[in-house]
Structures are given as C-alpha cells and as structure tokens.
C-alpha cells in the first residue's frame, strides 16, 4: 500500500486505493443549492456587547470596592467596642489611673470618625469628675460660717427656753436651794 498516495494523493497511485475511489466516487456529494428560508436572518452580533461587558465588570468592581471599604471602616470600631465590653475594674478602685479600660475608650473615641460617631453604639460610661480640693481660704470661710451658725443656733435655743419659762426641775431645784 502506498502510504503517500493514501495521505495526499502524491507519489505513485496505489491501484487498490484507486479502485476503491472509483467505486465509492459514485456516492460523492452532488452539489445542491442551499435553501435558506427568506424569513430567517442570521443573528446580528452586538458590537457593543464587549463594551457593555467591560462597563459591567468595572461597575461590579467599584461596588465591591465600596462595600469593602465600608466593611474596613466598621470592622476596627467593632473590634475596639468588643474590647470595651470586657469586665472593668470595680469602681471601688481608688485611683482612676489604675482602671485599664479607660485607655481603649479614648482610642475608640479617636478612631471613630465624626460622621460615624452617632451611628456607633458606644459603651462609654459618663463619669462625674472628682471635686477639686478646696483651698485654705474656702475652708476657713466654711469654718467661720459653721461656727457662726452654731452660735446663732445656741442663742436661739437660749431665747426659746427663756420665753417658755423655767422647767419644773429648775423650780424644784430653786425651791431646795431657797
């Protein structure tokens, strides 16, 4: 068998293959016109489809970026709030510097942007500031006021007693003396 003739009809023709070609050639395709219905049109290719696909991809990427940014800004605040939820040192602790959670509270207040501050539920305890130590002059004035009030109170009591008259015990005692 001539392999080259079988492959591309080159070289010396193979009689057996030629014989088969002659016989089977009768079954060969006979050209016929293609009958395409006139009402069928090929689908037009949308020229703008690639541009639309690119635009849609960019839009999706933009939306994903916005969502990611929002999550990023909310996530640290939530972490710090979670830290705040840890049990704090009892309030009986005398010095405010010894209370640890005070420091993260300050960090939370700094990290939350002003526009988000009202959106974040904070766990901040509003503490009353300890009263400032009174000065010496104030203490002196207070003592003077208190002593004046005490004297006035004593004098009022004495006047009240004189107005009510002597008590029975006083009369009895006077009677004994006299």
């Amino acid at each position: 068998m001539n392999e080259e003739y079988l492959w591309d009809k080159s070289g010396e023709p193979d009689p057996e293959i030629q014989h088969l070609e002659d016989i089977l050639g009768g079954l060969r395709y006979q050209p016929k016109p293609l009958e395409l219905p006139t009402d069928i049109q090929p689908h037009r290719r949308n020229r703008y489809l690639p541009l639309l696909a690119i635009a849609a991809t960019l839009l999706i990427a933009l939306l994903a970026g916005v969502v990611w940014l929002r999550l990023q800004t909310h996530a640290p605040a939530q972490k710090l709030e979670a830290v705040n939820e840890q049990p704090s040192v009892p309030s009986s602790s005398p010095s405010p510097e010894a209370v640890v959670p005070n420091k993260p509270e300050k960090v939370v207040q700094q990290s939350i942007q002003p526009r988000h501050r009202e959106l974040v539920a904070s766990n901040v305890r509003h503490r009353t500031q300890p009263a400032a130590a009174p000065s010496k002059e104030a203490l002196l004035a207070k003592e003077q006021l208190m002593s004046a009030l005490r004297i006035a109170s004593e004098k009022l009591n004495l006047a009240q007693r004189k107005a009510q008259g002597p008590t029975p015990n006083q009369i009895r005692n006077q009677h004994k003396i006299g």
Binding site: L6, W7, L24, R28, Y29, H43, R44, R45
Partner: protein, 196 residues
C-alpha cells in the same frame, strides 16, 4: 503485533506533515471573512461557506446515517448553523464547529429512527456499481468511528489527508494514523468478503 502497530504509529507521527504545512492560511482568513460577513447580514457569504463545507458534512453523515437521509440532513445542518452562527466564538473554527453539529445530528438521527430503515434504504438501488459501492460503504461503517469518517472523506469525497485535518480540526498525525489503520482494516474485510 501491537508493538509493530505502535512503531508504525510513531513513525507516522514523527514524519513531518508535509502537506499540512501547505494548508493555505488564506482559507482560514476566507472563513473568518465569510463568517463576519454573514453575521453582518450577508446571506450570500453563507452560500460560499456551504460550498466549502458541504462535501465534508456529506462525508461525515454518509459514514453514519443512511444515504437517503444524508442530503436532507446536510440542508438541515447548514440551516441550523446559519441560525446559530452568532454563537461561534472562533470564526476560524467554523469547520470543526459544523463538523461537530453534523456528528451530533447523526447521533440524534439514530436515537429517533430504527436500524431497519438503513438496510432497506441503501439496498434499494439496482445499479451494480452503486450496489457495490453501498456494500463497501457498509463495510466502512462497521469500522471504528474514527476510522470510518476519515476513510469516507478520503475515498468517497476525495479529500486529501491535510484537507481532512484542516476542515475537521483533527491533527494531521491523527488523520494519518486513522487513514492507515482504517485502510488496513478495510482491506482485511474486503479480502474476507471477496473470499466468500
């Protein structure tokens, strides 16, 4: 035996596909141009694609379905391809694409029809040469699928190996091996039948 076959295959595959290099690149460009024109509304360009590929589709179908059904199926396949041409991504791959449509359509035909139709249909001819051709065609159809399609395209449609590779999308080495093995098996079958 298997070692000899394997050695032969290696030799066939290692040979440079001389004719495949001669495959004109212009034809691919013609396909691309024609598909583009059809998609832009030119129906005549699809007629040119039909002229180029109808023999291949005819051969693919002839290797699988009764001869009497082939012509109608060829028209049907090209009509389907015309409707679905916008789904073809690689315009240069029009040949492999429509070849696959033809193979699938042949499988659908066998699912729907009965094998008895094939026998009565093909043996209807009284012409001696046609009868002989139908007998050989039946022998080819008994071969493995890869061999029968390649052999029909070569022996019936008169296409060369490089043309078969170019149109169907198969590699030249595969076509060469299929031709070699298919021809070998067909000879064995022909010798067996002639002895009877």
């Amino acid at each position: 035996m298997f070692e000899l076959d394997a050695t032969a295959d290696m030799l066939l595959m290692s040979q440079p596909a001389k004719a495949s290099t001669e495959t004109p690149a212009t034809e691919t460009r013609i396909e691309v141009v024609l598909v583009k024109a059809v998609l832009e509304g030119d129906r005549n360009s699809f007629g040119r694609l039909y002229d180029l590929y109808a023999p291949m589709i005819h051969g693919i179908l002839l290797a699988r379905v009764p001869r009497s059904e082939v012509d109608d199926l060829v028209q049907d396949i090209f009509l389907h391809a015309f409707k679905k041409l916008h789904t073809l991504r690689d315009w240069a791959a029009f040949g492999p694409w429509i070849a696959m449509i033809a193979r699938n359509r042949a499988m659908d035909f066998h699912r729907r029809s009965k094998e008895t139709v094939e026998v009565t249909d093909d043996l209807r001819s009284t012409d001696t040469s046609t009868t002989k051709a139908n007998e050989i065609l039946e022998l080819i159809r008994d071969l493995p699928e890869a061999y029968r399609e390649t052999l029909v395209l070569r022996l019936v449609e008169g296409m060369t190996g490089p043309e078969i590779a170019e149109r169907t999308g198969l590699t030249p080495a595969s076509v060469r091996v299929n031709l070699h093995r298919g021809m070998k098996q067909l000879r064995e079958k022909l010798g067996y039948t002639e002895a009877l």
